[in-house]
Symmetry: C2
Subunit: 303 residues, 2 copies
């Protein structure tokens, strides 16, 4: 199985278009210690000819151009190695790239009932012609043969409904099961597997079990601390309110996954407020000492 990190940043990326915070300033200035990060997405393949995208980030056109494995192959005038796209939520940083995938190219679009409903409520996604793009419900807890050589199980992840669908009059902002999912992707020939969970609000038993049986884990690396947005003065919401478990702290992900040592562990969906996104910071050293890596744009992982 080959896995390419198309983007490793959280919503907005690093730099974020309107952010003057240290990480964005450094990234605007091309400081090599703060690598630029487009918004999170990965591409996975068993045979190298058919690729499954996990999430369609707003940066998708730039990401495809930067990734030769995803360029069209001849001789047909229209072609793409992208055979399917699977969404783990309906937030802008997970779905906006679907608009890049217009131009009458056939592929299969997998998403939970809730996420398909969010797409259907926005007629702009009709640029994906129904005679070319098949929208399929991603069933939770059932195996799906997503593309040749890869099977996927999606399972509900603790999280919240997309920002533009939040309803403050409802409990949990109107969040329902399936608004956020995590996935286990397995190569049917080699049996190698990866867990992809770019948004996850708490680490429960099910994801620990899956992660310990997988060969690689790509997990929510949005925030280093629970109150990061408040501490930096950049927001009024905690990590939990935004649907993310922080890296650090007693209930943080470093602690939660501490005993999983045989799985390659990487953080993805890294926010521009997260101090670990800069090389050589105490926070980056701390996560490396805890056995984690930080995903970077363009990184290729062979499993």
């Amino acid at each position: 199985m080959r896995l390419i990190v198309l983007g490793s940043g959280a919503g907005g990326g690093i730099p974020q278009w309107n952010a003057n915070n240290p990480r964005s300033r450094e990234a605007f200035a091309n400081d090599p210690l703060t690598p630029r990060r487009t918004q999170a997405s990965i591409a996975v393949s068993s045979d190298g000819d058919h690729w499954l995208l996990l999430n369609a980030s707003p940066d998708l056109r730039q990401q495809i151009i930067a990734t030769p494995a995803l360029h069209p192959k001849g001789p047909a005038l229209r072609h793409s190695p992208i055979a399917a796209v699977m969404l783990t939520g309906a937030d802008v940083d997970q779905v906006a790239g679907l608009l890049t995938l217009r131009e009458r190219q056939p592929f299969t679009l997998y998403a939970s009932t809730r996420v398909q409903k969010a797409l259907a409520a926005n007629p702009i996604f009709n640029v994906l012609s129904p005679d070319k793009v098949q929208r399929k419900i991603l069933p939770l807890g059932q195996e799906v043969q997503a593309i040749p050589g890869l099977k996927v199980w999606a399972f509900p992840a603790p999280g919240k409904v997309a920002l533009y669908m939040e309803d403050e009059t409802k409990a949990a902002l109107g969040t329902e099961e399936g608004d956020t999912v995590a996935t286990l992707i397995e190569d049917v020939i080699t049996g190698r597997s990866v867990v992809f969970a770019p948004s996850c609000a708490t680490v429960a038993e099910d994801i620990l079990t899956l992660a310990s049986s997988a060969h690689c884990l790509l997990f929510d690396g949005t925030f280093f601390t629970e109150e990061e947005m408040l501490a930096t003065g950049e927001g009024t919401k905690t990590a939990a309110r935004m649907g993310h478990v922080p890296m650090s702290g007693e209930k943080g992900s470093m602690n939660a996954f501490m005993n999983i040592t045989d799985t390659r562990k990487l953080y993805i969906h890294i926010n521009n407020t997260n101090p670990a996104s800069r090389r050589g910071t105490p926070e980056e050293l701390q996560i490396r000492r805890a056995g984690w890596e930080l995903a970077e744009d363009g990184m290729e992982i062979v499993l």
Copy 2:
């Protein structure tokens, strides 16, 4: 007045993600004779501190990062020199970049009644909080002070409704006035002006009059010939069906603007099927001999 070409390509850009045509192949391969083009948008400023974007292309995040004039300035944690965005239509290549402009940044969003209606029909654009982003109707034929130092007149341009809103049961696919507009932008201090018309299906008297009085014209350069998509085998629609007048031919734009010689004339919104998008082709030489330039990404024009 300063004008920066953020993107010079038509929908899909050059290269287009799934295209194997000559221009896309060359651009994927970084051939210097076929410069890469992100999707069309320009930024205009009188004072250098406040910028008006014309259209919000899907490539907007990449375009802002590539353009130092649009980077946030300190000391506030959040800032952008982009004070307003004006849309000339509701097609994906004109509006998708609005999703990049989330993150609670104030700006004014100008669009015709028809285009505002298209945005309102897509709740995903609610990521632009109404308490930060003021959506204003762009009146047709009336002067608007869009940002400090710049006034704009928008006028209806011959064209068609956005692709995802086409209704084949209606006359003209359901197109109404205001679905496509062109704009004249004038510096209130210097009186210098530019006409921006990236989509225009026919050249009528009104745009000829405006273009002759302006100092610069950025005009629809989508296609070289009327039947380009059919001739290359890449589509079944004529230029007219897609809402664009071709460069060449008796009714083409080179001919129509022939007698306007005191205005700097540039083509923008250049499609990857257009042979003139490659330097040194007979078609490129022909348009240069006719007094036109091709806009390129990053080009700065001081008027």
